[in-house]
């Protein structure tokens, strides 16, 4: 098994598959769909050995593939994963399967291009998570924009052009600064090896500049307040599948970037700017929580809720330094970091499910406006049960995955400062308020109008998608130990590394 280049397979299988799907055209749409689904399922199966063959006892990179790519600049085709990237890769291949299924009958316009875009997207995102060469990472990073740009621009809603350009410019603007930082470090270290960057000596000024350059790229992706306004627009205009990938995976790339680049490369800058990161994270939780409350568009509401939930991720990552200061050891900091990671995976499931739920309604009613709904549970009881379940997960109910990460981060942030925990814990109230208020207006009550009365409950395809995600949310909520175990060694190692000054 170990001889197989599994990572390359997981990257290139969907990309090549996507090109084939693209070439097959739209004449025989069903064959196209089945091909796409086969490719996605195969990719998921191929990615499973990454989990089963993963050695949880080490923080070393595993499944490493390394060969020269552009020798003049010392750029390598260098792949490898640790406990931080592996769960995210499996999450990507898992969610991609459901994105293909979710677009099955819904997408009638150019289905082959739609499916191809998602498959290529999948491979590129896995590439981002597994690249250990900074230039390779950057190529994947930028390549990710193209399919998403097309997905929103072609299959999006009425205001898709504004949204897709806003999305593109926002993220592109951020990543240019990252490129400068990467090239700077290449000149200092002589290679694009990310792991070599980790040990590269940098002065505080250099670190701060590099940190800010990375921040530009990652903060936009996460997204952190105040560079978050592209997200609600992008979500509202994106087709369901686009929203799912955007929320479930692409946002995680920002969080992943902090763990792979910002924290280990510029630990001193991270430490001296942690107050800023914590403040922005808490603004995301509280401010965005309030904003979500007044949304009238379901997708916007969930988009804002995503931003608030991602606030927990960045909070968990950046309270590390204060905990280390308070307790003279990094004890407790691991909890926050792992909490942030768990939150990313969990949010991958829950946000995907929430957007799919809205998609189910949108496919039938062609409206995302909460005011157009009411009493849906009377006509769609099975869907109602699932949506209430996901809403509860979104509100962080124990027993669902939504609780795990929030709980860990709140426990950890209490060690940093009482008030961090206090503000973070407001999500218990705010998260429940905006989610349940939406559920009340959409699902409960008497049948609001004839359109709702004519609704039909979800079909088997939709049940399969939502049901699988429900199982995932429940399993992760009832037994998160395996997930935490795979990341533990890598997080411990990362933490050991970043509390040591580079100066």
């Amino acid at each position: 098994m170990s001889d197989l280049p599994i990572l390359s397979l997981v990257i290139w299988l969907p990309i090549i598959g996507g090109i084939l799907v693209l070439a097959s055209g739209d004449k025989q749409a069903n064959i196209t769909r089945w091909t796409a689904l086969t490719v996605a399922i195969l990719t998921f199966i191929v990615s499973l050995p990454l989990w089963s063959g993963f050695d949880t006892s080490t923080a070393q990179m595993q499944f490493v593939e390394r060969s020269v790519w552009i020798s003049q600049f010392n750029i390598e085709y260098y792949l490898g994963i640790d406990g931080i990237s592996m769960p995210l890769i499996v999450l990507t291949t898992f969610i991609s399967v459901f994105v293909i299924i979710a677009g099955w009958e819904v997408i009638q316009y150019k289905p082959s291009q739609y499916m191809a875009a998602f498959l290529i997207m999948e491979g590129v995102m896995v590439g981002v998570f597994s690249a250990l060469d900074a230039m390779l990472f950057y190529v994947f990073w930028e390549a990710m924009l193209i399919p998403m740009f097309l997905i929103i621009g072609v299959w999006g809603g009425p205001n898709r052009v504004y949204a897709t350009i806003k999305f593109f410019l926002y993220t592109f603007f951020g990543s240019v600064f990252m490129l400068v930082a990467l090239i700077y470090m290449y000149f200092k270290s002589g290679s694009f090896d990310i792991l070599a960057f980790h040990t590269l000596k940098l002065t505080l000024t250099e670190q701060i500049l590099i940190f800010i350059a990375f921040l530009m790229a990652f903060a936009v992706k996460v997204p952190m307040w105040p560079v978050h306004t592209w997200l609600p627009d992008a979500h509202v205009e994106a087709p369901t599948g686009g929203s799912v990938i955007l929320a479930a995976i692409m946002l995680k790339i920002g969080g992943y970037g902090f763990l792979r680049f910002s924290l280990p490369i510029t630990p001193d800058a991270s430490s001296s700017l942690d107050w800023m990161m914590i403040t922005l994270s808490l603004i995301a939780v509280v401010y965005i929580g309030f904003v979500a409350l007044v949304q009238k568009d379901m997708k916007k509401l969930i988009a804002y809720s995503s931003i608030a939930h991602m606030g927990f991720v960045t909070l968990g990552f950046f309270i590390v330094f204060m905990i280390a200061q308070n307790s003279d050891s990094a004890s407790g900091a691991v909890l926050g970091m792992e909490g942030g990671m768990v939150q990313m995976v969990s949010h991958g499931f829950i946000s995907a499910a929430m957007f799919l739920c809205v998609g189910v309604l949108y496919d039938r009613m062609h409206s995302r406006d909460i005011g157009d709904y009411g009493g849906v549970v009377n006509t769609m009881p099975i869907f109602g049960g699932l949506m209430v379940f996901f809403a509860m997960a979104n509100a962080g109910l124990p027993g669902t995955s939504g609780f795990v990460g929030e709980f860990m981060v709140i426990l950890a942030s209490f060690r940093a400062d009482f008030w961090f925990a206090f503000l973070a814990a407001t999500t218990l109230i705010l998260g429940a308020a905006y989610t349940l208020w939406m559920v009340k207006r959409v699902m409960f009550g008497e049948v609001a109008n004839d359109n709702v009365a004519a609704l039909e409950d979800i079909n088997r395809r939709e049940l399969l998608v939502l049901g699988s995600l429900a199982v995932a949310v429940l399993v992760l909520g009832l037994w998160p130990a395996p997930l935490v175990e795979v990341m533990d060694a890598s997080i411990q190692n990362l933490l050991k590394h970043i509390v040591v000054s580079k100066l």
Partner: protein
């Protein structure tokens, strides 16, 4: 033993899953059998466990079931702690739940009438209801059997979820779906404090396990922490109060009590099970379980005492002016929860748990009796429409009478022992606020008797029913309804007498509840009274008896003897009546301040922050600026050769000048 404990929690869960997912296939009979059997097994096994503790065969069990997660050396587990306290709790929960499962068969029999005809949510609603109440039983059992804070929080939120689902069970009713959201959100306010309390515990003891935490807290008794600036706070007080905020939400203490009366929108069986007998007492149970922490902070105890006493008195007063039969009982529940909290605040944890137990029986009984009346009255709930029901529903009448006597603490009934013990314990307490609490709980006795018998007389006695339509069809409820009434009436009458010796004056709770010598109010009480008979012997020497009798008499006089008096009094004290009728305006204030306020803040942030400042000014603004700048620059690139030539000449001139000068 571990297998028995697993079976106790899992059998209701299995029932809930089968009835929930395959309700359509197994049908109504299948659903109520499978869930009742599951809860029945749990009840029998719980009583078996309890018996084991009584006979002394059982050892305290403390073990883990599985490891939920290990992070950073912090072990998070799911596990059981079964001691004397747990044994009492699981027996009460599963027994009451079992009675209510049976009762529900009758109460929900015609549930399809509660749904619009075409509603698919109304299909199989009967099975779904059984699934929910079994799921509730599972959650509640997990809560009380937990041996750690994590699982406690799990159960805590899970019962909240089921409560949410059940209050809003009739989801087509606007009032029901408002009430369930309100209940969930108010509870979340409590949980907000609760989770911070847990975080504090974890920070200072590095454990979630009760045993380890309790072992560590004495060493932290003098720890001071700083929250606001440099002011020092006792860590134990902070933890105690934060955890208690959670209890205030779940056990509906002022000012987080507002959700409980509204929860009456749910079907009556769950009002009895969740919002009277079990879930709402979770806060009481939690504080008692945390007695090793609370004993170390008199501040927290005083806080509990004052909140509890306030709740006991002032929610009871509201009960006097309510006209909805279920709401009277709901306010009574609030008031009795206040009594339990007062007991905890006075360090009489055993008395709090004892009252929790007796209350579970007689209050479930009263709710079920109210439900029986509601069935008879064809879902009319206004007590002004009732009257004279005694003649039509004798079994309901007699069991309701027993329940009411237990509630007002009539000598010999179970409520007498538990309430008297609380009042006497507060009397012996010396911590701050105990005088206030004593006055409140004493006055509360009169109020309790007044509202209880006001309702009792108006519903069952006199001429009636006043509603003509109801009179024609009124008859006693079926056996599935009356048997649970009888089953609950038995402990309501006599459980106090038989258990008070062991629970309050014996060493039943010795290993489970922790009381410092200087707080031992029950011990003080034990010096003057020595058990059930001794308590009965003191009846005529203590004020509560006379207050209860006075309340009963006043209720009889106003509502039976001189019915015109009620209106006169109402007119005479109009402002007070309005204040009570409007429930001290809590709902109006909360609606304006919290609901309105958050929406206001949300709109402000969204419109001014996101849309105006960020999007319009910064993002689109800079995009526009780029556009404008490009527009300016475009003027230079005109495409006319002579413009470019002119620019070149200018440049040349400039360069030449440069060279000449430098």
């Amino acid at each position: 033993m571990e297998n028995i404990y697993l079976l106790i929690v899992l059998s209701p869960l299995v029932g809930a899953i089968i009835a929930g997912f395959w309700g359509g296939q197994i049908g109504r009979v299948g659903a109520h059998w499978v869930t009742s059997a599951g809860v029945g097994i749990a009840a029998v096994l719980s009583l078996f466990v309890l018996y084991g503790f009584i006979s002394g065969d059982n050892q305290v069990f403390n073990g883990s079931v599985y490891t939920w997660m290990v992070s950073d050396g912090l072990k998070m587990e799911v596990g059981f702690l079964v001691d004397h306290l747990t044994a009492v709790m699981i027996s009460v929960v599963s027994f009451v739940s079992f009675c209510i499962h049976i009762y529900t068969i009758g109460y929900m029999a015609d549930d399809e009438h509660n749904w619009p005809q075409e509603s698919l949510a109304g299909k199989n609603s009967y099975q779904r209801f059984f699934s929910y109440i079994s799921l509730f039983t599972f959650s509640m059992l997990m809560l009380v059997m937990s041996n750690n804070f994590l699982q406690l929080f799990f159960g805590w939120e899970a019962v909240g979820l089921v409560s949410y689902l059940l209050i809003g069970f009739w989801s087509v009713r606007p009032t029901a779906i408002l009430a369930n959201m309100k209940a969930f959100l108010v509870n979340r306010v409590g949980d907000f404090g609760f989770i911070l309390g847990i975080a504090a515990v974890v920070m200072y003891t590095n454990s979630l396990d009760y045993a380890e935490v309790f072992k560590a807290v004495p060493g932290l008794a003098d720890t001071q922490i700083q929250i606001f600036g440099d002011t020092n706070w006792s860590l134990m007080s902070v933890i105690g109060i934060l955890l208690f905020v959670g209890a205030m939400g779940k056990s509906a203490q002022v000012p987080l009590h507002v959700w409980l009366p509204d929860s009456m929108e749910g079907p009556t069986p769950i009002s009895a099970l969740i919002h009277a007998a079990t879930m709402v007492t979770a806060g009481v149970f939690m504080v008692a379980r945390m007695s090793p922490i609370y004993e170390l902070s008199e501040t927290a105890l005083s806080f509990i005492l004052v909140i509890g006493a306030t709740t006991a008195m002032f929610t009871g007063l509201i009960g006097i002016v309510q006209n909805d039969i279920k709401r009277v009982v709901a306010y009574s529940t609030l008031s009795q929860l206040g009594y339990m909290m007062v007991a905890l605040g006075a360090s009489a944890y055993a008395a709090g748990i004892f009252h929790l137990m007796t209350h579970a029986f007689f209050k479930a009984l009263l709710f079920l009796a109210a439900g029986s009346v509601i069935i008879g009255m064809h879902h009319k709930q206004d007590i002004r429409d009732m009257g004279g029901i005694r003649k039509y529903m004798p079994k309901t009448y007699w069991t309701a009478l027993l329940g009411s006597l237990a509630l007002i603490g009539f000598p010999g009934f179970s409520g007498f022992f538990s309430k008297d013990a609380i009042i006497e314990a507060v009397h012996h307490s010396t911590i701050a606020g105990s005088d206030y609490a004593y006055a409140m709980v004493l006055a509360g006795v009169f109020v309790t008797a007044l509202y209880s018998f006001r309702m009792f007389f108006l519903v069952f006695h006199g001429e009636g029913p006043r509603d003509e339509h109801a009179r024609e069809h009124l008859h006693e409820s079926p056996k599935v309804v009356t048997i649970p009434l009888v089953l609950l009436a038995i402990p309501s009458v006599c459980i106090g007498y038989f258990t008070v010796d062991a629970m309050l004056f014996g060493d039943w709770f010795a290993g489970a509840l922790h009381v410092l010598p200087q707080h031992d109010t029950l011990g003080e009480l034990g010096k003057s009274v020595h058990g059930a008979n001794s308590m009965l012997g003191h009846v005529f020497l203590s004020p509560p008896f006379y207050l209860a009798m006075a309340g009963l008499f006043v209720a009889w006089f106003i509502y039976m003897k001189q019915p015109s008096l009620a209106e006169k009094i109402k007119g005479l004290f109009a402002p007070i009546y309005t204040l009570l009728d409007k429930k001290y305006f809590f709902d109006e204030i909360y609606q304006a301040v919290f609901a309105g306020g958050s929406r206001g803040i949300g709109s402000f942030f969204w419109n001014k922050g996101d849309r105006k400042l960020i999007d319009e000014i910064i993002i689109n603004g800079s995009a526009n600026n780029v556009g404008r700048f490009a527009g300016l620059v475009r003027n230079i690139q005109t495409g006319y050769l002579f413009h470019y030539a002119f620019a070149m000449i200018l440049g040349l001139l400039f360069l030449l000048t440069w060279f000449v000068i430098f």
